[in-house]
Symmetry: C2
Subunit: 446 residues, 2 copies
Amino acid sequence: MKRIAIQHLKKHIGKEVAIAGWVDVRRDHGKLIFLDIRDGTGMVQCVVLPKGKLSNAEKEVVQKLRSEWVVKIGGVVNARPDNMVNSDTLNGDIELEIQSMSILNEAQELPFDKDTELNIDTYLDYMPLTLRSKKGKDIFKVQSEIMRAYRDTLITMDFVEFQAPKLVGNDAEGGANAFKVEYFYDKTAYLATSPQLYKQIMVGVFEKVFTVGNVFRAEKHSTTRHLNEYTSLDAEMGFIESHETVMDVLTKVIRSIVKAVGTACERELSSLKAASALCPTTFPVMKLRDAQTLIFKETGEDSTKEPDLSPAQEKWLCEYSAKEFKSDFIFITHYPASKRPFYTFEDENDAGYTKSFDLLFRGIEVATGGQRVHDYDTLVKKLKERGLNPDNFSFYLQTFQYGMPPHGGWGMGLERLTEKMLGLENIKEATLFPREMNRIDILLSD
Amino acid sequence: MKRIAIQHLKKHIGKEVAIAGWVDVRRDHGKLIFLDIRDGTGMVQCVVLPKGKLSNAEKEVVQKLRSEWVVKIGGVVNARPDNMVNSDTLNGDIELEIQSMSILNEAQELPFDKDTELNIDTYLDYMPLTLRSKKGKDIFKVQSEIMRAYRDTLITMDFVEFQAPKLVGNDAEGGANAFKVEYFYDKTAYLATSPQLYKQIMVGVFEKVFTVGNVFRAEKHSTTRHLNEYTSLDAEMGFIESHETVMDVLTKVIRSIVKAVGTACERELSSLKAASALCPTTFPVMKLRDAQTLIFKETGEDSTKEPDLSPAQEKWLCEYSAKEFKSDFIFITHYPASKRPFYTFEDENDAGYTKSFDLLFRGIEVATGGQRVHDYDTLVKKLKERGLNPDNFSFYLQTFQYGMPPHGGWGMGLERLTEKMLGLENIKEATLFPREMNRIDILLSD
């Protein structure tokens, strides 16, 4: 008999079907045994009736079953009596009466219930198991929908996707914080900290481009905010007026993601108790200096001489934005040129400050972007000012020798966006297989 | 005036419009000057009429223009006279009469015409320029469509996308051919040669998963077939009957890609003179030994004792398949266990041979896959047989301790698929910024 996906069982009420999946939970009520069976599409409650059709051999099999055993089941889909209906969950109104049963694979005894709240290190140590929890599945279902919505929205806007290389000879930031790779012939390569230089090259080709891929930061952080490898949702586009064009497009993309996730992952969001993001048509925009002045005025904390915001200040600004502007998102613009990469465009009307932005969301920077320098001579000058050798960027610089329009773009952290959309406490909960200074899958201690 | 995308100009015949883009070619016919202007969406012929509205200053600007200068143009969209219509190209039936003109950025004199046929090293050295050629744009437009169709097809089949980490502690193949990365505290990490282990972990979570990402091979090859970094289109699924289930799904995915590219990239395929792929409902399947016997019989070349096919034999089999089965694709199965990775499933009815396959397409292997071992004890035994230490795979092995169904999947090379769909000569033509032993963007010679 052809296997039915569990999410489609409801179409087969009164019929005999076959399913296959993992035993999520087995509840033995003496005469009745209940099995929650899970496949990739959902979960269903199955029941072994005392006078059911199972052979004695099959009944013995049922007695042996524990969580995570893999089974194939034949049975009849029954509607539940009204007083047993749970309308909040998939298949809460049906039940599968088991008529045959076989084991596809056994599982060892679990070290803990997979849906237990665990401390983060245990959760990470056992990720092949803990990701099977309801929470783990919900988080990464949402993450996959964020990626899908991100790409689809940009494709609709005529952006072309490309794959940026991760092995690079020189990094956009000049090699600081880049992991070193032993290349051939004793050469050193680096892992890209962003696809920035390639995005700009590709603007020369397709005008509007995007790329989704892993980036690498050799930063010795071990916090709830940082990762040494993460997924960057990047885009770059030509013929912009200023960084504001970029912010407008990013706003549309974010709104589209929030809407798509709200529709496709309604059940997951509800299960994770994720509050809907306040996501108005336009997000508030503040210059860094205006933000600092506001903070000084409202809290008495004087950071007006600082080149950046502290984590606490980012949090404060987001709370302010939610309260004052009904927006969980806020753009902070005009960071000082000295704190931004060499390719950042300086504001011709605000010397020393850049047409760049950070996008803050629920207390954290989730995206950074702006307008880039498109003039070759200016770019060479900026490289030299930073002590970088233009010869090492000769490949990239061709883009600007051979005609580039005003352009800009952003990089957005998939894991941070996921974390904040879902109200999680730690970036690692929103990261499949997080890499940090102490961990690559397992802790790196000797 | 709001800028119009060049692909939409036809909707504005008789109207005044603004466009912006690159000068592709400037043709000076004395009284008449023609400019082909290109933006991200297409190209249009523009004309400066002798008695047109341009100011003298603007006329001087037009005189200075060369290829790749970036301009903003105002003008009127005119239908071309019937005898001037070129119906094969976008905008072959219209022309823009230039009425105003400004320069957004200049370009240096080009080292060569960007559409010239170049030797491969020059092409690669100047990629920021040469990718702007018609051929370059066509190839990578098709590649982006392959990615889109790949993902969309799998999402329709209930596969869930995830991002696999590239920094790994231990490689699926045991570290051979993996690049070494200097990690923290003098630890060594590796660059993943495939997302294999993570795909299998994720089958335990979502049952059907896919991932698109870069993989890295530290192989000292410099051929028209090999790359040291490439994009792998991966998928993995649970509850399969055998490797044949995997082959069936992969066949559907390939057919869907071929169809989508044929529709969305009709113009690009035609311009690249790419022949439609012979892509029947089912692809021919041959065991490796049967293929070798056939080759022996037909060509006299005895390779029946070899564990693999030579490149020439793969080519021969593809030509045979096209002729005999009207299929540019052919599956070769049952490679010897000794030549396949530790996780490969051995055929219980054909000892020593595996339920694995290579998919050949127009002379080259574009995908490899099969059924995987799902039993924990067998997997540990196979690791040990290869001299690998199961302790180093403890994270991965949890997947099998805690219940895994029969499962399998594939990895497919995006660049090889692109190359062969488009009939290109060299994998590097189908690769954005190819990495090889002698090159990362530029040649690595001292």
